[in-house]
Symmetry: C2
Subunit: 340 residues, 2 copies
DNA sequence: GTTAGCACTCAAAATCATCGAGTGCTAATA
DNA sequence: TATTAGCACTCGATGATTTTGAGTGCTAAC
């Protein structure tokens, strides 16, 4: 059996109607809804075919049809194709004044959630290859040193390091200079034993302090590697089909723990294929198997990237989501470029 | 009618039983459950009295009784009193190694949520009177200056400030020195026009930069004044009585938006009466009117304080919650003292 | 003052009937 | 051959009705 043009139109009509209503759609509805001028009986025959082909399913005998994951998949693929070159006039307003990365990301998450009415997540960039732009050590009080590290992309990390005595100012300056000359331009993986060795021998007398600082730097960069922000997680309540006790609590848990996206980043690695749509069972993460997850990857320089995800019901307004996401991506790209 | 000793014991038994089961408790249960050796009929008479006194209510005729807000209130008050001097051996494990405030707070929230099975919130300290310990300006690249502000309590704030050209090193050093001499020890409210004036005249040629920096400092300190962290919000699903569509979504929304606690801080001001318990309608915040909210205030120096809140059902394990909270408070106090 | 006993209440659960949207199939039609 | 009208059938949803049982209040006896 072939998926001819008429079947495709009917499928599309079914999906669109289902997206709007959330109810299984029957043959009579389609018969009236479309401009195909076919009787409900004919539609029934076609629907029967579409079901055999696996694009739609019946929740139970004598109910209308709803799209299967395969059906959504076809729909999304078609849509993505047709949208490919189309201009999208939606303008995402992002307050780029604050140049701090985390503020921008938080705001991005909120924007997405507000404008789509789904839940959103955004991961902070993946620092694996992030290079150190510079380091600044300052004595805060008698036994604490503040260490600020700026990475490229103007990501700022700071940490406190304990030290046993107050350093003379000249020493601190010297240490600062040393740190910068040795570490500038290195990424976290390049800070290896030999570099540390050199630093230690150079800084006679401060060997433990150096170790402590490097530890802090390493821990800070690696530990928070996959932080993420979420927003609008309660939007989930708006979709009754997700609103079964078990599902909703799992989803919210995944969102609160920020697992969904970070897991995905681990699983899928850093392959970037622009906007990805995971429908139902396609989802690589257990908790989201009843949802659709749309992800997009944003880029900074040098293979540094993060992901934005939108989590909603299968019957998601795919057009809007993809559109909004596209816009946001370009906005973010703009901001990050300016920042460098 | 008097609330004699026997009535009190029965009330206590009712509450405790209800805390465990979540079901209305009947006379027969109490008759067996307690060591009073009274028949269910007698209990029924007493319960009837207790209801008249307003300590318990019937969800409907022919159901058992559940505690009213007034009943809980009595119970909590009694418990708080009896706990007052009692040593509590629970030990809260807090990783104090990382000396960064936000990490500690996040961890505290998580600990509380995990150990109590309720939702927790924690606000970052209220900076109103926070004094500047010092300021560090650094040129990050040609048109960006990084400004790190350390407040007492070792709260670190950093922000990027745009500037039109690269400053010579000497000038930056001079600015740094100036900033520190003028601003050190001041709190946000003491940075007034006259201070700014002085700074600007002193720093000939950098007047705009100075303004920008001060703006950033002010905005940063004021804007994030009432940030908060939450944890375990999905624990709410564990309590069926909160699990009505409307309630749960409101609660989660309040939690996600971190409204509950911050609102409370605004409403109640900075009066600190240690551990506070708000039961049901006593709650000053609309969204939590079906819950119990237990809050505690932690202290740093100089009137700087924050709040921790635990949100759960009315039938909360008050003993455990209060105990855990007490411990956490003392742990936090320890950490913050060490940090100074 | 306490208790046994009993009639009464009422929410929750179980049972049953009805309704109707939607289907699949068949036979008639274009 | 493709389309359509017609009809019997299915089955979840809705709602009425009954049953059940935990729990009460009251009264009379201890």
């Amino acid at each position: 059996m072939e998926l001819d043009d008429r079947k495709l139109k009917i499928l599309q009509a079914i999906i669109q109607n289902y997206l709007e209503t959330g109810e299984p759609v029957g043959s009579r509805t389609i018969s009236k809804y479309t401009d195909l001028n076919l009787s409900s009986a004919t539609i029934r025959n076609e629907m029967s075919d579409l079901e055999e082909l696996g694009f739609i399913v019946q929740p139970h005998t004598s109910a209308g049809r709803i799209p299967s994951d395969k059906g959504y998949r076809l729909y999304v693929d078609m849509m993505l194709k047709s949208k490919e070159d189309e201009l999208n006039e939606l303008k995402v307003e992002l307050n780029a004044k604050s140049q701090k990365l985390d503020t921008v990301l938080k705001e991005a998450a909120r924007l997405i959630a507000d404008s789509t009415n789904y839940a959103s997540m955004i991961t902070v960039p993946h620092y694996r290859c992030k290079k150190i732009k510079f380091i600044q050590l300052t004595q805060v009080d008698a036994n604490t040193i503040l260490c600020v590290v700026v990475l490229d992309g103007n990501v700022i990390k700071n940490m406190m390091v304990a030290c046993d005595r107050e350093l003379p100012k000249e020493d601190l300056l010297k240490l600062n200079l040393m740190m910068n000359t040795f570490l500038q331009g290195l990424d976290i993986q390049e800070i290896n034993v030999s570099v540390m060795q050199k630093l230690r021998t150079e800084a006679s007398g401060y060997s433990t302090l150096i170790s402590d600082i490097l530890d802090a730097v390493a821990k800070c960069l690696e530990g928070e590697e996959l932080e993420a922000y979420t927003s609008g997680s309660t939007n989930i309540f708006k979709y009754p089909e997700l609103n079964e006790a078990g599902t909703v609590s799992n989803l919210l848990y995944a969102l609160e723990e920020k697992k969904a996206l970070t897991d995905l980043m681990y699983k899928e690695g850093d392959n970037d294929r622009g906007i990805q749509v995971y429908i139902g069972e396609e989802n690589p993460i257990e908790a989201t198997k009843d949802c659709t997850l749309v992800t997009a990857t944003y880029h900074m320089e040098d293979g540094v990237y993060g992901k934005i995800g939108i989590l909603g019901p299968r019957r998601m307004d795919y057009e809007k989501v993809v559109g909004t996401l596209r816009n946001l991506m370009s906005d973010l790209d703009g901001i990050f470029k300016k920042e460098q």
